[in-house]
């Protein structure tokens, strides 16, 4: 079989250690690929900056201020990163709940991506916490802030990471050749999926709900009591656009792992995803229009912030929505890919608007991220890609699962 892996035969702990050590070795033909040459220095510099930040405090490398307590580490890493990770729960719904077989080939890559996104981007939160050693307090019960939206989001992040790990764990078991474990873990999938979708619904919207108490600080064109609903709906097409975008790159980079059947079905998958994006974006646009009309902010449109708002809502929601429709109608993958990139740009801008740009738009001195904040953000992204690549090169994520899994197919 093209691209399948031979599972090891691990009998005891010694075998296990030996196997892991063997797998730690790099797989690439040359270490000097373009990605490595760029990412390694960025990651090394990022690590230095992060150490420096923990010794000297947040002001040493960030431009955060008393007026702008949250910068791009929250606005981009967490808010946008989690929205982009939304593809996992949407596809889990389609594949495991609706049982649409068509999307099965991409489910593992998507869930893995989602899982790593949470680990790294929500993990980047630790950089931003002033007193990160207290991060265990909301978990161990050193006083529960039950009326806090952030309490809910924190718990959901944690539980969702566990749920996603359970969802992806059969791939780990296949890699290690643990047949019995795999069977048990596969049996947990449906439960984890149902739990995961519920948690995602709540924390995707919860991230928006965080800003409900920033009333008066967020420009009226962006502030609305419906921010949670908008965050949830937009996470659907944000996540799927990420799946399309990531798939495009994965198919180039990891193309040799894919079998012919997968490659053939892939175009249909992208077109299907484009269709869902278009639908979700239309709903989102419609909600935006409704909220705008009810807000009665016509006069604000003809201001600088108004033009910026229109750029986001027309240029980066309505137009990509239309492009998705065109791409689906003419089965044009290129158009769908362009639409997905525009959509992702729109999501980045939307999340940054609410957390940074339209936040305290009236402030005389506005927050602009320092180059070091951007550098560390790149570090987090590159580190995630490294781990993603390491796993995809070793485990049955894109490639077919080993032969033995088909004999004991559960459900």
């Amino acid at each position: 079989m093209n691209g399948t892996i031979a599972s090891p035969n691990i009998k005891n702990f010694k075998d296990f250690v030996a196997f892991i050590l063997k797998e730690m070795k790099p797989r690439g033909k040359t270490p000097f690929t373009l990605f490595n040459v760029i990412s390694v220095p960025v990651i090394l510099l990022g690590v230095v900056l992060i150490v420096y930040r923990f010794i000297k405090g947040l002001s040493s490398i960030t431009n955060l201020s008393q007026d702008f307590p949250w910068g791009i580490w929250i606005g981009f890493d967490v808010m946008t990163g989690v929205a982009f990770a939304g593809g996992a729960y949407v596809l889990c719904f389609v594949v495991y709940i609706l049982r649409v077989e068509k999307y099965h080939p991409i489910i593992r890559a998507t869930v893995l991506n989602g899982f790593l996104a949470y680990v790294f981007y929500a993990g980047a939160l630790v950089l931003d916490l002033g007193r990160p050693w207290n991060i265990i307090n909301p978990i161990v019960g050193n006083k529960f802030g039950l009326s806090s939206v952030l309490f809910l989001v924190a718990w959901h992040f944690l539980l969702y990471m566990i749920a996603e790990f359970v969802e992806i764990s059969p791939a780990f078991a296949e890699w290690l050749g643990f047949r019995r474990t795999r069977k048990i873990l596969s049996g947990l999938t449906l439960g984890a999926v149902i739990f995961g979708i519920t948690l995602s619904t709540l924390h995707q919207s919860g991230l928006g709900a965080l800003f409900l108490m920033a009333k008066g600080k967020i420009h009226p064109l962006w502030y609305s009591e419906f921010i949670p609903v908008l965050f949830f709906v937009s996470s659907i097409f944000a996540g799927l656009s990420m799946v399309i975008f990531e798939g495009t790159i994965s198919h180039k980079v990891f193309g040799e792992q894919l079998d012919e059947h997968h490659k053939r079905s892939y175009n249909d998958i992208v077109i299907g995803l484009g269709k869902v994006c278009a639908g979700a974006m239309f709903v989102y646009f419609f909600l935006k229009v409704l909220i705008f009309i009810h807000g009665q902010h016509w006069s604000l449109l003809n201001t600088k912030m108004g033009y910026w708002y229109l750029t986001e809502v027309i240029g980066l929601v309505l137009i990509p929505c239309f492009l998705f429709l065109q791409g689906v109608r003419h089965r044009n993958l290129m158009v769908i890919r362009v639409a997905s990139i525009l959509t992702m740009l729109g999501i980045i801008i939307n999340r940054l608007n609410i957390s940074v740009i339209a936040f305290k738009w009236y402030a005389p001195v506005h927050y602009i991220p320092s180059w070091m904040e951007i550098e560390t953000t790149l570090t987090v992204i590159f580190a995630e890609i490294w781990v993603f690549r390491w796993i995809v090169n070793r485990m049955p994520i894109l490639r077919e699962a080993p032969e033995w899994t088909r004999e004991e197919k559960t459900e």
Binding site: G57, R99, L129, G130, P138, G145, I194, F195, L202
Partner: protein
């Protein structure tokens, strides 16, 4: 068919959700005067009496071990100052239609504070006496700063072990029955300490007795659900640096709708998803059988 085990699982999740409801439901107290059976303490700031001597700033710094400001330095009035990590209270000078006015700024000690509702570890606490205080189990997430309508909590960005710095209404003194340091230090009787109920009556009395002196509004009586610092002014409050667009809804109320919907989603979503999954599973089985034939 949903088998019994799965049904019980879903039911369990649902009951958990309902139990979560009572836990998650934030305390939606009306803007009451009484907290935990006790009257809230408050400070009335009469800006018509303030002479801008900044004795309150000095007293505050002494009481809390902060750097003592130079009282004789008038240049501080040249620009509008915010409270900071080393200054829990600051006095600002405003040019108004009725001449120069001084106004003290510090934490308002809201009756239902946004910062307290925001805190996921209850490091920010509304004490039953009225003060809003900060304690060390804080994670440093700064959500309190995002949620404060008055932008009061200040964060030590330059420390590896940062604290949130803000006025605590001299909680340690108030507990012992003493007045806050700033009130005690005020030579012009611009600050009055008492129960919130008394002070609102006092403020109203001053307005009624001197209708031409005062602008007829008590800032903090209803703003964001009411606060323990209340202000009187001779001029409209926007002229002395106050936001008058904050509304009278307490800030935690803005998240109540979302928080109440959480248990509902936790209950209904899994049941719905499991139901759909059962339907599609049967369809799939039927389809598979069809393929075999």
């Amino acid at each position: 068919m949903i088998d019994r085990r799965k049904f019980l699982k879903v039911l369990g999740a649902g009951i958990g959700g309902i139990a979560g409801n009572t836990l998650w439901a934030p305390p939606v107290k009306a803007a009451e005067e009484v907290g935990g059976g006790r009257e809230l303490v408050a400070v009335l700031v009469d800006t018509t009496r303030c002479i801008g001597c900044r004795s309150c700033e000095v007293a505050c710094a002494e009481a809390h071990g902060l750097p003592i400001p130079d009282q004789s330095d008038e240049s501080v009035f040249e620009k509008q100052r915010q409270t900071s990590v080393t200054q829990w209270t600051v006095v600002n000078r405003f040019k108004t239609e009725k001449g120069e006015v001084f106004a003290k700024k510090q934490c308002m000690h809201c009756n239902q504070p946004g910062c307290v509702a925001a805190c996921l570890v209850r490091a920010m606490e509304k004490r039953e006496e009225g003060p809003v205080t900060w304690s060390g189990n804080c994670m440093g997430c700064r959500y309190c700063m995002v949620s404060c309508p008055f932008d009061i909590p200040k964060f030590e960005y330059n420390s590896w072990n940062p604290k949130i710095q803000k006025c605590n209404l001299c909680y340690e003194r108030v507990k012992e029955g003493k007045q806050p340091a700033c009130v005690e230090a005020c030579p012009a009787e611009a600050l009055t300490f008492g129960t919130r109920r008394q002070l609102i009556e006092e403020a109203k009395t001053r307005i009624y007795q001197n209708p031409d002196t005062y602008y007829h509004h008590i800032y903090g009586e209803y703003e964001v659900g009411g606060s323990s610092y209340i202000y009187l002014s001779a001029v409209p409050f926007e002229q002395i640096g106050f936001r008058t667009d904050l509304g009278t809804t307490s800030y935690p109320k803005y998240t109540v709708g979302f928080l109440y919907s959480v248990p509902v989603v936790l209950l209904l979503w899994p049941a719905f998803l499991l139901g759909v999954s059962q339907i599609t599973k049967r369809e799939e089985e039927i389809r598979r059988k069809g393929e075999k034939k």
